[in-house]
Amino acid sequence: MTRRVLTLSLVLGLLVAAGLVLLTRETGWLGGDAGVGWLLGYALVIAGLDRLPPIFVEHRRHATWLTPADVAIPLGLVVLGPLAFIGASMLAEVLLTVRLRTPPIKNLFNLISMLGGFVAAAVVFAAVATDRASDPRTWLAAGLALGACAAWDVVATSAVLSIVEEERWREQLRVIAPPILLGSLVATGFGLTALLLWIQHPLTLLLLIPVLGMLYLSSRSIAQQTSERQRFESLYHASSTLTRLVSLPRMLGLIAAEARGFVTGSVAVCWLVRDDGTWSGRLVDDDGDRPLDTAAYAALAARIPTVSGTPSCDDDDDEGGGERVERLAGYHAVEASDRGLRAVGLPDCQSLVWSFGRAEPVGSLVLVVLRDLPPDGQDARRGGVLGAFAAHAGSVVANVELHEEVRRALASEVERNREKSEFVAAVSHELRTPLAAMLGSVQTIRRLSGRLSPTDTDRMVQIALAEGARLQRLIEDLLLVAAREHRHLRVDATRVALDELLATVDDELSVRTQGRMVVRVGPHLGAVSTDRDKLQRIIGNLVDNAVKYAPDGPIEVAAAPGEDGVVITVSDHGPGIPVQDRQRVFERFVQLDQSSTRRRGGTGLGLYLSRELAALIGGSLEVGDAPGGGARFVLKVPASAVDAGGVGTPGPLTAVRKRPAHLTSDQG
């Protein structure tokens, strides 16, 4: 074997190795690593061709160029090496029953294992070539190198990168990995050294070049993929933080967590909202989050260590950047220091170590820090930092709260607009119908002026008048509804005697009731102080309904003393109202029996108005079954009318000023 051939082969091998390294640097392809390993082996073997077994050497003596055997042997060797490695690696994976993904570092370790696997095979060959096959140390070295590197590949990558999918293996691998790593490193080193010593060819040192090159490229690829993963993680972390910003308790928890990183001790964050003079809020601390009330605050304050002494009742003591709040009695707000901090007081005389707050139109953020160490010289500076942090945090929370409020107000406004347009549509429909009949009958008189009989003319006039009256009633009702909506209805309370009132109703509706109305006034029934007109309207409407829906039988109106005031019932013997419709009947324009109601000139607003008016004077109106099988309306009137103007659908401004429900409920 000439030196020229040897050198040529070595260079060729190195070139291909370099080429393969370049090819696979982006993909980290296992096959590329294998290729590199194979070519290394090839180069290695070429270098050791001088040590070919005599049988091959003999054959070669007569050749001047590379013979097929020159190629076949090294190829055979480079196949053996990796195969041995792959087989061992797969065996190890199977034995340890771990499933591996393919992380970037695996490429590096692949190479090392590849090398180790190949080293083992090369050791064997070299041993054979140098008549050391019978030496047990040869086989020991080979076996060690092979096994250790296969184990390295599986165990080291798994443990280092925690890519084992089965949770139970992760902990175990973390424990057994280091010794195995060490062992495999030693074995590989041993094998490589042995090989170098045996072959003793200077050019074998060149093998280090592709190895180092691969190491470098692999580590670069690892670094890239690691940073990529880190970017993903930080993005995920950012998005989960952003999600927390939408929910108030979670945001408060975030603020507490951040502050906690700065101080030694406990941190609690309170978000307080003042509504109609009372404070309510949310408290977030180590124990979680809950509505802020006396009990919660007391529990928080109870954790103050005795470092600051027994709870004292001194006034606030401003120290540097923070405020040492030592006495809090009743709700009070301490005027801010020149840094714009404001501490909000909570009931009970307790002491706090530190409290930093920021007041906003929307609410106040109070950062409560309970230190478990004695005060030191750094407290003032610490206070300053925490104060600034609390100020910023308060702004953020206020912004989010405002946004929430606006969103809610908008949603309720949209809903109200929808309701309004529905109402307008219903009203326009209701108004057109009697108008059509009224105009139609008058038009009839005009166009058939000559041909209409007196009876028919009379009938048309009657219809026109009836529909006109219906229209009038409808408009009246609508105006009442509108007035109610806009809170323009007042309660004019006077002394009303029930027996007299009911007699009036009976009298006024006698044409319609045709004497069917029966009045029963309980004994010892006193007078009530209420709005006479409205009460009369309600009772009149109920009686009118009874007339419409119960064509036969008496209509019983009874008044008896109730819990507070009077209970008036109107019962009929009609078909009654089914259970499922008992709330529906009180809605606007709902008429259970459309045609018959129309026939009797109903507006569809009667019960709705009656209930609203009842609420206005402080009472209530419900419906149930009458003993006689019909419907029974129960009207409760308090002894003295309460102007319950607050009842009814609130306007949009009211919706905004209302205390947000989530502050008082336990929902997030």
Binding site: S441, L448, R599
Partner: protein
């Protein structure tokens, strides 16, 4: 050109007063009127009686007027009877719904009596 003489009219409306005055006017013009205050059997009766025009209100107590209209237009016996849709609903969607359900004419309340009667009269020259 066949002339179709209008002799019989169906009037369907849940408002009894309107029903009454429509019937009165149509009868005064010499037409035979059958009045309904419900929609349930209008189609059935129309198939038997074969009216020349049907005046139909959209709001009926027992079933939707538009469904009656659709039924009328679906049934081969009643398909060719012109239908005048009468209603207090006047929004664009409802008018469109009426037209697309197959109404031949659409009048909103309150209406000019003359307009309705003129239309019915014009049907007398229908080809």
């Amino acid at each position: 050109m066949t002339q179709r003489t209008v002799t019989r009219v169906f009037v369907v409306d849940d408002d009894p007063h309107l029903l009454e005055l429509l019937a009165l006017n149509l009868r005064a013009d010499g037409l035979e009127v059958e009045a309904f205050d419900h929609g349930l059997d209008v189609c059935e009766r129309a198939a038997i009686e074969a009216p020349d025009v049907i005046v139909l209100d959209v709001m009926l107590p027992d079933r939707d007027g538009l469904s009656v209209l659709r039924e009328l237009k679906h049934d081969p016996d009643t398909r060719d009877i012109p239908v005048v849709l009468l209603t207090a609903k006047a929004t664009d969607e409802e008018v469109w719904a009426g037209w697309s359900a197959g109404a031949d004419y659409y009048i909103t309340k309150p209406f000019e009596l003359d307009e309705l009667l003129r239309f019915i009269d014009r049907l007398g020259r229908y080809t």
